[in-house]
Symmetry: C2
Subunit: 425 residues, 2 copies
């Protein structure tokens, strides 16, 4: 366990209140998103284009709290574990969890830049989106290039702008774009429509990965009015099969042989069943397809050429790893969401690997090799391999006295306010 190297391609940052300070021209300073503290309720809110959102300060950042304080009641930056929004604290938390590398999805901005897509003033929206990318890539990841895989967003409201943004962020080393898993459900053209093809071509040109995080496409399921919140949490990863179906039986993957897609947090246990189904379907329903519709391959083979499947915990999927394909499975951490295994990720993952009788070689593929190859991110560019292990990083955290204790929100508030951390006045 101590010798594992962990690279997580699905974590999240809560954007800090000063994120725009260095990245927008003066004339936009009052127009881009800003944090407003509601003194009456004690809640921090992001304000943009007339809308207020407090979601980043509740369920999206529970990592420091005891479970009985989880819930949908929002709060303030001061109530959060600082690793949620402070990149240097984040690195300390990664050390404590033995995690070498991490790719971070946005919170305020939305997995697919929804906050900007929904704004009426598209001029400002584009400035705000680009500034988000500049902050995320240059400032957050740039502060620790040895630890972060840069992920950007594209303006979904205009594919030409999206193409330009892919090239712009690609040029500065961004490795991936976060996008909607089922764009048609949010009123955008579907993957099958061909509308996004210029953007996908640009991503191939820039050698970047399309990351489709679960949750964004949840409305692809028409759920009963009475459905409890469990539905969202349980079924979100079932949607990855629907996404894969759109990509595989639509023209997308076949049209772009070099396109690489990560199904972030989609899990892996659904894949053997899906593969059985699509290969049997393709062979049995031969009246629907020409033999070379998939280039002489089975649909599952085309899937394997394009897709990286990512999981936090997935004991059944690991048992059938051979049927999935050992080169398309990647582990993830999901800090600071409720599903994260922080700060015991090494123990959690190791136990699952042992239960599934994974070999050391298989574990290395799953915990870092597959992700690093897929995202073309060299983990040892800045870090010697012997310093990249769980044991080495945890030793550093111990020396730095990183405290991983879960504490009540009220306790965080007292400590953070005393230290002047996350105070928004």
């Amino acid at each position: 366990m101590d010798d594992m190297i962990l690279v997580s391609i699905d974590d999240h940052m809560v954007e800090p209140p000063d994120m725009y300070d260095n990245h927008v021209p003066d004339k936009y300073r009052d127009l881009v998103p800003k944090v407003v503290h509601n003194a009456e309720t004690g809640v921090d809110e992001w304000e943009f284009a007339g809308n207020k959102s407090s979601t980043p300060f509740g369920m999206a950042a529970t990592v420091g709290w005891p479970k009985d304080e989880w819930g949908f009641n929002p709060g303030s930056y001061t109530e959060l574990r600082p690793g949620c929004f402070d990149v240097h604290e984040r690195v300390r938390d990664m050390d404590a969890n033995g995690v070498l590398g991490s790719m971070n999805f946005p919170t305020m901005a939305g997995f697919n830049a929804r906050t900007f897509s929904e704004a009426g003033d598209k001029d400002t929206a584009l400035v705000a989106l680009r500034a988000y990318n500049d902050w995320a890539i240059d400032e957050w990841c740039g502060a620790h290039p040895d630890r972060f895989i840069p992920l950007g967003l594209v303006p979904m409201w205009d594919v030409d702008l999206a193409v330009a943004e892919v090239h712009r962020i690609g040029a500065k080393g961004c490795r991936s774009v976060s996008f909607l898993e089922t764009p048609h459900v949010q009123g955008f053209p579907s993957f099958l429509s061909g509308y996004w093809d210029p953007m996908l071509a640009a991503m191939c040109d820039e050698n970047m990965v399309l990351s489709l995080h679960i949750g964004a496409g949840f409305d692809v399921i028409r759920r009963p009015d009475e459905a409890p919140v469990d539905h969202l949490m349980v079924l979100a990863c079932q949607i990855s099969a629907i996404t894969a179906q759109d990509l595989l039986f639509g023209p997308t993957l076949r049209r772009f042989p070099d396109l690489r897609i990560a199904l972030s947090e989609g899990g892996i246990g659904w894949i053997p069943f899906y593969f059985d189904r699509i290969d049997r379907h393709f062979q049995n329903q031969s009246w629907l397809h020409e033999r070379d519709d998939f280039g002489g391959k089975l649909p599952s083979e085309v899937f394997r050429e394009h897709i990286l499947a990512c999981f936090i915990t997935d004991p059944s999927g690991l048992l059938l790893r051979d049927r999935i394909g050992l080169d398309i499975i990647a582990w993830e951490c999901d800090y600071p969401h409720t599903d994260t295994t922080w700060p015991e990720s090494p123990e959690f993952a190791w136990n699952e690997f042992q239960e599934a009788s994974c070999t050391d070689d298989e574990i290395h593929k799953i915990t870092w090799e597959n992700a690093c190859r897929f995202f073309d991110w060299d983990p040892f560019r800045h870090t010697a391999r012997e310093d990249a292990t769980v044991a080495a990083l945890r030793a550093r955290a111990e020396q730095a006295q990183v405290d991983v204790t879960r504490m009540p929100r009220a306790e965080w508030k007292i400590r953070n306010e005393a230290a002047g951390v996350g105070v928004t006045s």
Copy 2:
């Protein structure tokens, strides 16, 4: 393989044109569904309440045809293999496939009596629905009570009428009701609403199984406009997880401890992943649930107490049968649909069992014991066990010279017309 006993709880009949002859009062004779032969196109159509449907005569009955003739172009009874619509021929086809017992879903009537639910004249619709049940239970199954598990329909437009129909068909030995997997998607109240509770209570009283066949709920997925027909065929069994979620995290299963539900054709390979997810969710998101929300059990345990999971071919699922539960898995045949393995079902199933290293005891559970217990149908009431095996039934078919050759539709037409079979004039 020869010693296997096969009981399939998912096959289909194409209702014959004379189905209503013995089951409706004279004054309704012209009002209930009837078959009309279009001499110009050569297509048979069911006419009811001003609507015409030819779907029963194409994709729903491909069993006799070579694959290059599969497709959505409808035809006539005479083009079908007679086992689709003639119960005595069906039994011969079951013999040839080594299948002892079978439960048959309707075609013209719709899995959930849709044909009757959509009719404006609900008086006639109820007469037609009850007559369907009388025909299906008394005439089709009644002709060979040793071979068929009776399945009925309920009027979905009125839960009180549904309760009455459950009791009426229960009294004459019906073992199951076919119902919508996601009723809310078709504009009916959801399972979570409680609306169906009186009917579910009646089913428990009558010791009947609720059978939820895939396909009926396909619109639960908002698919792209451009989605090919593959989507329906591939994703239909993914919907069983959504159905299970409605039943398990809604109050239904917990409110009716005796309720038994079969997820017909839903497959089994999705279940280990789903179990991993729901049990982890329940334990991890403890703020959402009291410890005894599932009666002190895990959600997967409650699933196992209520649900029978049914598959045609499912190699990955069989490998993880222990994680699913050996007592909740049942094999099925799906005659006469495109996915059926007829007439090589024994070979097909046996190979999969061998690949998964199933023991004889496990095979017996999966091929007949679980289904017979769940549907409370005794396969040996009319048939001695030694006469119930694949070998015994196939020997009978050989003696009776059952020909299983696939033939072009035109060839069937010539043969059937010559024999006066399925001719609708």
